[in-house]
Amino acid sequence: MSGEEKEYDVVSHSFPKVDGEALAKGRKVFLDDIENSTDLVASILTSPFAHAQIVDLDTTKAEKVPGVESILHYGNVPRVPHTTAGQGYPEPSPYDAYIFDDRVRFVGDRVAAVAGTSWEAVQEGLQAIEVEYKELDPILDPDRSRQSEIRIHPEEDSTGIYDPEKNIAAHVDIEVGDAGAALADADVVVTAKCKTQFAQHAPIEPHIATAHVDEYDRLIIRTSTQVPFHVRRIVSQVVGVPIKKIRVIKPRVGGAFGVKQEILLEDLVSLFALRTGKKVKMRLSREEEFVSSRTRHPMEVEVELGASKDGRLKGIRMEALSNTGAYGTHSLTVLSNVGSKTLPLYNEAPDVHFYGDAVYTNMPVPGAYRGYGAPQGYYSLEVAMDKLAEEVGMDPIEIRKINHIQEEETSPIFEKLGEGKEGTVQYIHSCKLDECIDVGAERIRWGERGSIKEAHDTEDKARGFGMSINMQGSGIPLVDLAAARLKLNEDGSFNLFVGATDLGTGSDTVLAQIAAETLGVDLDNIVVYSSDTDFTPFDSGAYASSTTYVSGNAVKKVAEDVKSQIIDLAATQYGADSKDLEIEEGRIHTPGGTIDLSDFAILTTSGELELDQQQIEATASEVPAESPPPFAAHFVDLEVDKRTGEIEILKYVAAVDCGTAINPNLAEGQMEGAIVNGIGYALTEEMEFSNSGEMINPSFFDYKIPNTEDIPEVEVILVESEEPTGPHGAKSVGEIGIDGAIPAISNAVRDATGITITESPFTPEKVWKKLQEAK
C-alpha cells in the first residue's frame, strides 16, 4: 500500500508556521504577555516534608498581611477526589488527588495558596501561614513501598487505586501464548534489567493560568495547557461550577511535552476568581516547576528474550516496576505503554508476557511525558536485542530486521493491551522501518565501523557504534475524539476552528495545510483558530501523538464536506452536474468555464445567488479506529574516555517513517527536539534527592539540559510512507524521537568498552565505576 508517490500542492511542503511571524516578533501571544497585569496574583505554599499529617493550619496572621485577599487550604475548599491527569472521561487514573488535603505526600505537595495584590504581598502571606505538621515515615523506594505497612493513600474516599493496602496504584498483566514455556524451549535466552531516573520536561515557559468572572457570571480561564476541554471538565468537577459556566482559552504555549497535560493551577485560579470577583494570575517559578509540577516515571524494566539459534524471537517476558510518586496520575496508562508501544515491534515472538506495578512513594509526581513509558521499555528491550545479537553472532541490524513487524502484519499485543485497558486489533499498513535502518546505517557508516574503531581506538579512548529501533502510535484508538469546524467567508477564505492544541509544535500549521490541500486552495486562505472551549469543537487534546493523525483526519473530513457543499451549490448555480466540478488552486472548474472561489463565495451570502444564500460550513468528528505507528531507527557514533568515564557523542543520526510528512520542516523539528531531549535523558538529566525526598537540584544549572556545546548536531532523515488511514497519508511524529537515544547510546558504550550501562543517566561517574568493575 505504501510506496506510491503522490503529488501534493500544500501538504508535503515546508511552509513557515502560521504563527511564526507573531512569535519571531515577540508579540503578545503568551499568557504572561497578554495578562501582563492582573488584579491579583497568587502562589502556593508547599510541603517541606515528604510525608506528614497537617495537625493544624492557622491563617490568622496571613490574613492580616496588607495586600493579601484570599487564602485557600484544606479547611475551606471542597473535598473532591479527582485526578490531575488531563485524560478523556472516564479517566483511567485513580481519583486520589484533592485541591488540598490534610495530608502531604511529597516535598512540594500543596499545602495552601494565597492571592494578593502583589507578588511580595503573596510571599509575605505564604510565610505568615502557620502549619503544624506531624511527620510520617516517608517511603521513597517503590519496591519497599509494596511491602510497607505504611499507606500513602489511606483515605477512604479515593477511588480507582489498584491495591491501596500495598500502595499499588496500578497493575497490568497480559499474556499472549505461553512466554514461560517459549523461554524454556528457546535455544538462547538473554536478559536485560535497566533502570531510569526522575526526569523533567522543562518547557521554557513554566505553567501559568489566569481566571476571572465575566459580566455574565461566567468563569473565564486562560491557561497554557495541552488539554483545554479536560481543564474545563475537571475544574467543573472539583470547583463545582457547571461546564456551561466555564470557558477555557489556550493562548500560544511555550512548550509542554506532557507536563501541561495536568491540571496544576486552573482549579486554584478559578477558586480565587470566584471568591474575590477579581482577575487572578498564577505562574510557577522554575524551581516550583521542578519541585512541584510533574516528572517522568522512573522505572525498572526487566526483559527476557528467548530465540532460536538463527536469532528468531520465540518469547518475550517484560516486567516493569514504575514509581508513580505521591499520586497516580497517568500511572496505569504509562505502565501499559511500556509494553504496548514496544512489544508489537517484535511480533516475530509468538509468546509474550508483560506485567508490572505502578507503585506510590513519597516522591514527586510523574505524569505524562513525551514517549509515555515507551522510552523506559525500549531501554531494556533494545539493550537485550543487542545482547541477543551478540549471543547468536548476528549484526544488531540484521537481528532486528528478521524480527520486527512488517506491512500487513499484526501483533496480538495491539488487541490485548491498550491504554489502561484492552486495545484494538490493528494491522500495519505502512512501515518503512527497513529503509530507515538502511539509510541510518549508511549515514553513520555502520558497515565501516570496525575499521573506524580500529583506526581511532587508543589506550584512553574507545570508539563505539550503537543503534536502536522504535515504534510509537498515532493517538488512542476508540478513545480520542477530535472535531473540526470549517466555514467559508465571502472572499473565498475559510475559518478553521479546531479543539486541537498547538503547543508550539506547529499543529495549527499542519492542520491548515491538511484543510487547504483537501479544499484545493492556498494555505493563506485558511485562518486557524484553536483551543477555545466556547468557540471550537471538542478535541481530547495534544497528547499521545494524536494531533496530526486524529485531529488531522477530522480536518480532512470537514474540508471534504465543505468542498462538496461548495461544488453542489456551484453545480446548481451553473446548471452542471456536481461530479463534473472540481476546485483547484482556489478556482472552481465547471464544464461551462472557471470561476474564482472568491467570486463564488461572495454570491453564497448575497441575493445574487439564484438559490437561497447560505453559510457554507460543517463540523466533523473523528474517532480513530487504529493508531498507526510511526517507526524510527537511531544510530550513534561516540567515544568513551576510559580515564574519566565521559561519553562524547560524535555523530547522531535518526531516520523516521511518519507517513507523509505534512510539513517536512516541522516534522524534522519534532524529531530533532525529541532526540536532543532524549540525549539529555540519557546523559545528564536527573532530578536528585536528599535522603528525606527533597529535590536538591531544582535549577537549569544543576539539572543539565543539553545546550549547543554539549552535543553535536543531530541528523534526521524522513523516510516517507503513505499511511492509507491517515490524512493525506500522514502518521504522527511528536513523541517517537525520544525513544531511541538511551538504548542506542547504551549499546554504543557496550560496543566501545564491553560494559553495559543499565542505569540512566550515563554520567561519567557511573561509566567509570562500571569500567573499573570490569577490569
Binding site: G20, G26, I204, G254, N665, G673, N677
Partner: protein
C-alpha cells in the same frame, strides 16, 4: 533613584527603585513583553537583551546598571513592522518552534552578527550556548543564524555596490 537611559532608541529620565530588575522594568513599566522569564536566575537566556550592543541577562541586571546606557530589545531591532533578517530566517528555517526562547536567541545572534558577519556553524553554536531551547534541538536555530548572516552580508554588499 533617578536614572538616564535609552530603550529602543527612546530616552528615559526616570526615578526607579534601585532593586528593580531590568526584566521587570521592561515588561511591566514599558510593556516590552518580548523579554521572557524562563528561569529568573540567569540559566536559560530567554531574557537576553543588548545593553550598549552587548548581550546581558535582564533577569540578573538591576536598573542602576543601565544608567547612561542604551538598551535594545526585540521590539526595537527594526523600524516599524518589517521583519529583521534574523526574524525572517528564524521563521523560514523552523528556528521558531514554540517561540518562547526565540527573542533571547535573536538578541544573542544579533550581537554575534554585529561582531562577526560571517560566522561558521561552530562559531554560532559556541556563541549561543548560554541559551536553552527545549523544542528544536538547536539545528534549525543555527540554520537561521547562518541564513540571516548570509542575507545581511548580501544586503550589505548590495548597499556597497
Amino acid at each position: 533613584m533617578e536614572l538616564e537611559f535609552t530603550v529602543n532608541g527612546r530616552e528615559y529620565v526616570q526615578d526607579v527603585p534601585p532593586d528593580t530588575r531590568l526584566i521587570d522594568f521592561l515588561r511591566e513599566d514599558l510593556n516590552l513583553t518580548s523579554v521572557k522569564e524562563g528561569c529568573g536566575v540567569g540559566e536559560c537566556g530567554s531574557c537576553t537583551v543588548l545593553v550598549d550592543g552587548k548581550s546581558i541577562l535582564s533577569c540578573l541586571t538591576y536598573m542602576p546598571e543601565i544608567d547612561g546606557k542604551e538598551v535594545l530589545t526585540l521590539e526595537g531591532i527594526t523600524d516599524g513592522d518589517e521583519l529583521h533578517p534574523l526574524q525572517q530566517a528564524f521563521i523560514d528555517t523552523g528556528g521558531v518552534q514554540c517561540g518562547f526562547c526565540t527573542p533571547g536567541f535573536i538578541m544573542v545572534a544579533l550581537e554575534l552578527l554585529n561582531e562577526n558577519p560571517d560566522p561558521t556553524r561552530d562559531e554560532i553554536r559556541k556563541w549561543i550556548e548560554g541559551n536553552i531551547c527545549r523544542c528544536t534541538g538547536y539545528r534549525k536555530i543555527v540554520d537561521a543564524i547562518e541564513l540571516a548572516a548570509r542575507w545581511m552580508r548580501e544586503g550589505q554588499e548590495a548597499v556597497e555596490a
